[in-house]
């Protein structure tokens, strides 16, 4: 049964969940520090700045220094949350993320804000669809893509308590709270959103609710589509992926480049262990001008687009 489109009043910008959670954590732990590149407003950290002015380090528009400062703060025992637009954090400071954070293995939390195509009409310079491909090959770096405000808050709490580098990709495009019972956030563990046996839809971040809706629509056609929320890209839940491969067909859905991201990670694993036909939904690269909503629709990141991809892959399924 297809779900009605969520009311806009029930949609949430996950940046608020990030900021609120970080403020609460900082009140309890003086080691928690925020590092920004003139991104206080876009990271929703105005409240943090007001409450903890000494622990908000604004280095100005200088991403390489921002990430290096995070590593230095971690060296001195702080727990820095380095928060900036994901496109600049990951693109401009990639070598700092590699050498200063991942390879040095410092306890730095990188928060990629307004990720994916959230900046819509501003164009590919401001889109962050390459970040999965750039980051998921870095050892030591846990890569989390929360699907909604609840998961964003849980990921931030977990990251604060985890000793080691973490990247959390926070969405700006409004998403609904997923209606799933008894949720537990566990890095490296996929969340089963819908049971299903004909095909598996593996989604992350802003696309999980679309996959859920597509599964419900497909159920009306007699197609049993499993949905996994793969909020942890690194480490990947290999068991859940290989079990998904047992359904005989996989669709991956991500607000990211179709190459090198979630789809790539799933394909790398299945092709070596249990090859199955796959469809990969995402963006092809530098996209045309358009709002975030238009871009999602245009590139099939929608209930109908995901359902269509499921039908396509089912047609290729080996019997």
């Amino acid at each position: 049964m297809a779900q009605a489109a969520p009311n806009t009043a029930d949609l949430f910008d996950c940046r608020n969940a990030f900021a609120k959670t970080l403020e609460a954590l900082a009140a309890e732990d003086s080691r928690i520090t925020a590092v920004v590149n003139d991104s206080i407003g876009s990271s929703k950290l105005g409240g943090f700045q007001k409450a903890f002015p000494d622990r908000l380090v604004n280095v100005g528009i200088a991403e390489q220094t921002m990430v290096g400062v995070g590593a230095g703060l971690a060296n001195a025992g702080h727990i820095p949350f380095v928060s900036a637009a994901s496109c600049f954090l990951t693109g401009r400071a990639l070598e700092q993320i590699k050498a200063d954070v991942a390879y040095s293995n410092f306890n730095v939390k990188l928060i990629g804000q307004s990720s994916g195509v959230a900046y819509g009409e501003l164009g590919p310079t401001h889109h962050s669809i390459e970040d999965f491909a750039w980051l998921r090959v870095l050892n030591n770096l846990t890569l989390i893509v929360p699907s909604d405000p609840w998961e964003t808050a849980e990921a931030v709490k977990w990251a604060a308590g985890h000793e080691g580098p973490v990247f959390i990709r926070v969405s700006r495009m409004p998403v609904p709270e997923l209606s799933v019972a008894n949720r537990v956030f566990q890095p490296g563990k996929a969340e089963l959103i819908r049971q299903g046996s004909d095909v598996s839809i593996i989604a992350c971040g802003t696309t999980v609710h679309l996959a859920q809706a597509a599964s419900d629509a497909l159920a009306g056609e007699g197609i049993s589509a499993r949905v996994l929320n793969m909020s942890s890209i690194n480490p990947l839940d290999e068991t859940a992926v290989l079990e998904a491969a047992n359904t005989g067909a996989i669709v991956t859905v991500e607000e990211a480049h179709v190459r090198g991201g979630l789809g790539g990670a799933v394909a790398e694993l299945t092709v070596r262990n249990s090859p199955v036909p796959m469809e990969m939904l995402g963006f092809p690269g530098f996209v045309p001008t358009g709002s975030v909503e238009w871009l999602f629709d245009h590139f099939d990141l929608s209930e109908t687009g995901v359902a269509a991809a499921a039908r396509r892959v089912l047609a290729r399924k080996r019997t």
Partner: protein
């Protein structure tokens, strides 16, 4: 917060010890490079006197507790000069001398560029240039936030200053008046391929740092007394980060290496090694 009482104590006049250690470091680093037939001896030798001055006259640390929160930090931003860094850490007591025999051998802890996860005393992994100053800045900011008493020293090459990240960090250090932060520039005027001034000129380097809000001292980078005076001067009340421009000679101490860009990553043959050992006394 005062420095912990269990940090090592330097003698009142550490200059003789610094001189002695610097000589040992040059000889030992050159043997490492000779054995490995790999390394960056020219830059090792320009930086060694400043590094020896820090470890044997200035820094507060305990090699048995490399993670001691109140320690002073030294970051080797020119991470390729591991001959200088590893010999200093070894002489300071962070690890056994036998480690040096493994330099760049398969599975050695002593990679061509330092890794904090394997080598005690290494503060952050460096190698790509322009990374050390921002990390040092973060440590210094941590001291500013908590009022901790530790000081942070970072050494860059001069050619390395062509990387823009250094200037981002220098701007922030000046803006925040981080008097607990000291940058030493190994000003040997040579980079890998040619002179700094013919490649992408840095002069007037002192004026650049002053314009960024730093206090600048220019010293002979091989004069241990001058280095000690500049690097150990109290920072409280200066109200600015300190930049020590150490005028140095690439390959300092070995006649055929001095001021030769080719010794950036040149390695000695047997005859050159013997000559160097005769000169380094």
């Amino acid at each position: 917060m005062a420095h912990s009482s269990n940090v090592i104590a330097h003698p009142n006049d550490p200059v003789p010890v610094i001189r002695d250690r610097a000589l040992w470091m040059r000889r030992r680093a050159f043997k490492m490079v000779y054995d490995a037939q790999l390394g960056h001896p020219g830059g090792d030798f320009s930086a060694i006197d400043a590094i020896a001055t820090l470890y044997f006259g200035v820094l507060h640390y305990d090699p048995k507790q490399p993670e001691l929160p109140g320690r002073d930090r030294f970051i080797m931003s020119k991470g390729h000069a591991t001959g200088a860094l590893y010999t200093a850490l070894c002489a300071a007591g962070y690890f056994e001398e036998s480690w040096l025999d493994t330099y760049m051998q398969p599975q050695s802890k002593l990679n061509g560029h330092p890794n904090r996860n394997y080598v005690p005393g290494v503060e952050t992994n460096t190698g790509p240039l322009g990374h050390g100053v921002p990390v040092a800045l973060g440590i210094a900011i941590a001291g500013q936030i908590t009022g901790a008493n530790h000081r942070t020293y970072v050494l860059t090459g001069d050619g390395e200053l062509q990387e823009g990240s250094n200037w981002e960090a220098a701007m922030t250090a000046g803006h925040r008046k981080l008097e607990n932060m000291t940058l030493i520039v190994d000003r040997n005027r040579l980079q890998q391929g040619a002179g700094t001034e013919e490649t992408n000129s840095l002069d007037p380097l002192d004026g650049k740092f002053r314009a960024f809000g730093w206090h600048v001292e220019i010293v002979d980078g091989h004069d241990h007394e001058a280095l000690f005076t500049a690097l150990s001067a109290p920072c409280k009340g200066r109200g600015k980060p300190l930049c020590v421009i150490a005028n140095t000679v690439k390959g300092k101490g070995v006649s055929f290496m001095e001021n030769q860009a080719s010794w950036h990553h040149g390695v000695p043959n047997a005859e050159q090694f013997d000559t160097a050992m005769k000169e380094l006394v």
